[in-house]
Assembly symmetry: C2
Amino acid sequence: MEKPTLPKGTRDFGPAQMAKRQFILNTIRQVFQKYGFQPLETPAMENLTTLTGKYGVEGDQLLFKILNSGDFLKNFKSYLMFPNELSSSRSIFKDIARESKKQNFKTFDICLKSLKITLYKGDEIFEKIDEFYSQNSGVVESVYRNLTEGFISEEEFTDQIDLLFRNFATQYLLKRLTPSELVFNQSISLSEKGLRYDLTVPFARYVVMNRNEVTFPFKRYQIQPVWRADRPQKGRYREFYQCDADVVGTDSLICEAEIVLMIKEVFKGLGIADFSIKINHRGILSGLAELCAAKDQPAGQAGNESSLFVAIDKLDKIGEEKVKEELRSRGFSETSLSTLFEIVNFKGTTQQKIEFLSNKFSTTPTGQKGVSDFKAVLNLLSGYGATEEHVEFDIALARGLSYYTGCIFEVTINNVSIGSVSGGGRYDNLTGVFGLPGVSGVGFSFGVDRLYDAMEELKLFPQEAQISSKVLIAHFDAESQRYGLKVLQTLRANGIASEIYPDSVKIQKQLDYANKKLVPYSIVIGSEEVKSGLLAFKNMKTGEQTKSGIDDILKTLK
Amino acid sequence: MEKPTLPKGTRDFGPAQMAKRQFILNTIRQVFQKYGFQPLETPAMENLTTLTGKYGVEGDQLLFKILNSGDFLKNFKSYLMFPNELSSSRSIFKDIARESKKQNFKTFDICLKSLKITLYKGDEIFEKIDEFYSQNSGVVESVYRNLTEGFISEEEFTDQIDLLFRNFATQYLLKRLTPSELVFNQSISLSEKGLRYDLTVPFARYVVMNRNEVTFPFKRYQIQPVWRADRPQKGRYREFYQCDADVVGTDSLICEAEIVLMIKEVFKGLGIADFSIKINHRGILSGLAELCAAKDQPAGQAGNESSLFVAIDKLDKIGEEKVKEELRSRGFSETSLSTLFEIVNFKGTTQQKIEFLSNKFSTTPTGQKGVSDFKAVLNLLSGYGATEEHVEFDIALARGLSYYTGCIFEVTINNVSIGSVSGGGRYDNLTGVFGLPGVSGVGFSFGVDRLYDAMEELKLFPQEAQISSKVLIAHFDAESQRYGLKVLQTLRANGIASEIYPDSVKIQKQLDYANKKLVPYSIVIGSEEVKSGLLAFKNMKTGEQTKSGIDDILKTLK
């Protein structure tokens, strides 16, 4: 008998995990809704044309692709059968054989050319006669010589040439079916659909498809699983939830300020106290690049912008010396390096950082824009009456630079072994790739699995998070079970989640069930309880037990 | 520029639909939880070994299969490259050439046999030398003759034989890659994973994999999408949600009674008043079959049980006469038909039906068991103090007979153009297919899309179901916007979902935004309001407007 397993990198969420996950998701959802975001859900499957080319080469490789159903098999079969169509050319081979025997060897070449013309009218493969001949000329000539020397009959000649053609056609087709063609070539594709890789691209697609119905500025949140064919490892799964909130159709920095507020509120709701919201700005990074003479270097060139950013992003992982080494090897001058590290290493309060950068960036408008946007966000926060607590100005934060054009966010929980649990930023051109330019937006995302792991590590989940009945009704016999049904109905009519043990088994087994399910209360009913109406009501945690009427029980439970 | 589209049979759910769907899902979820069911979520992807063979031949064809990522490409590539490995045998061909020239033609055959022995030790393909020779003997002999006659060199001989081998290997491999092998053969499969087809099989898999941790009786609910590669049509989608609740590990009929109670409670919550919970029992159908002499006919035989059930199931669609015709053509006697329709057409109250059937089934224990189970469920319902309202004893209900072994349920909403919106039943052997026999259970499922369509048709969705902010803050200028931030913070601190229009635009545009999003209240702030602290507070529905302090506004909104 087969022993069932789960696909690599996927998980079940049983009742205990579900309770914790729902606690996280509900907390996030409530904050999103409180800030005026509206829910959106998109299908798990998207067209590959929507997904590919949006996540870089690496991302494309991590897409889960769905086999075309029905249609695919038909298409594929027709390719497999295709070589058989060549059999109609047997008569032509025979003609060649007859003709060739009358002439000398050189004419065979001419005959093949005529064959080419004949076949040219058919499918594209027939155009490949030159390729066929250049590959098979040796064998063809051997076969041909045997014909003209009289070693084989016309029929045998035809068989042999036919076989060579079939093999060539097969070979040719198989060559066409390279893995990438199999997957991406529409005409013979195995797959035209893939599983959602993130929530941003489907959101962009939705906005473009519904541009006339959507109310802008459009504030949407989306909480759904995404799939990535990544190598599974600790904390990295092939199916995981993302929780995104984005506003598109406005460049107001109020949106950035509210992202900071929402992050704070979510963490408060989750009970996570020690965390940092790191903020940087694309303009500040561009300003840095300008000062390091990297701005105008074309991509791929020594000392260019992106190699600077890649190196900066590694600062907290590999340290200053290694980053310097890397930058030197990338063609950055010592002057650039000292300018860079004077800025990156500047210590001070946020206000001091802002003043320092304003001076440094006096010659770079992009740099100034970065600083002033950041100042404006802080100013807005104070307008809300919010403090700058948890907010950290991090000049070395350089994530998502291929799409972020304004503020960049990253949130880390301090003192846990988990990377960033949230991040986001402003992008100028979310929907351009789908033909709708000029839609500016800003968004951020929570990683549920990382939040979950962090909260486990910090022991922040309340045990009551378990979703279960509040009361189990246990019973000694058929009569008390029947009495229990009415009690149960009363509890439920008062909105109390409750259940009766369905079978007639020993009381202890019924109470064990309640304990295992973390049901906090039990009511045990026997013939005495049925008579008196006073029920044995037990707190399963404390063990405290009373004889109570149903009204008193309801009072305790409500 | 590409115009984005959605895959056939899939849908986006924008804010308006999401609100309605969440209303349905939350109603169902709350009832499930109130009855002591705990949540479970399983991954979208399951191993094909888990899924295939569970839904019949038709079901297998409707599975969405996921292309193997990475690994698949590697495997496939290795097959494509495999013929190259033959090049190591070039030296052998050369040996053959050298040897052959010394000897006569017949030895070539022997040489090939020796080649076979050499190659036999390698991969299986090398065993196919006989097949190769029988297919290629003509060409091989032509080439060989050219060698022995001195027309071609040893090198040319080697090239030509090598090519023939390569082509054969390619051909052979391609032959192996028939579509069905491509998909189902594990060793070279394109796909080993599929998308969840329903929630029952993943649940069974979960129970088996976690049999030692699960507390039995296990009451789980599961609300997740499933995917079917069905032809899309009105009301039938390729991705849709199911909401299942099952109890496994008990055969107590309390579970059946609670299914009836839960259905009633869900419909009450949804505001659907006119519906029927049709109940039948597998035993009653078996009893019918016995009386119609269909019981002991083997499957496929004239007059057998399943042809009886298939016909009965069509009664409400095609009517009595057509069903009779079908049954006659299936070999049922007139006596059987009159027995059948005497029972099926019996009119009366539920009690009268029970008495009538008890008499009719006096000779069939399975039939009696069906009647007594049904009676017991009704009796339990009265134990809960519940009426039999909405419950309908339907002897012709014959769904899911390949797995249901006890009670069978089906729920229809009256006076709407939609089929059944819920159904379920008891099964004796949920997990047997995964190696865990003897797990009895009973479950049922709601179809969210059908409920949605029915509620739209009945106009049952409250407009307030829209999920949006309760208040929009509009502002005349920068100063009033800044003042608005503080007001906003106060509203949110009091748990009121609210937002500020992020840009500085005309007041009318800001209020239009509120109207489009169905935000029920607005607060308009100008310089006067900033001075006085009395805000223009407007009910967007009635148009009623007051000048109120924030405390009064909070009182209205709470």
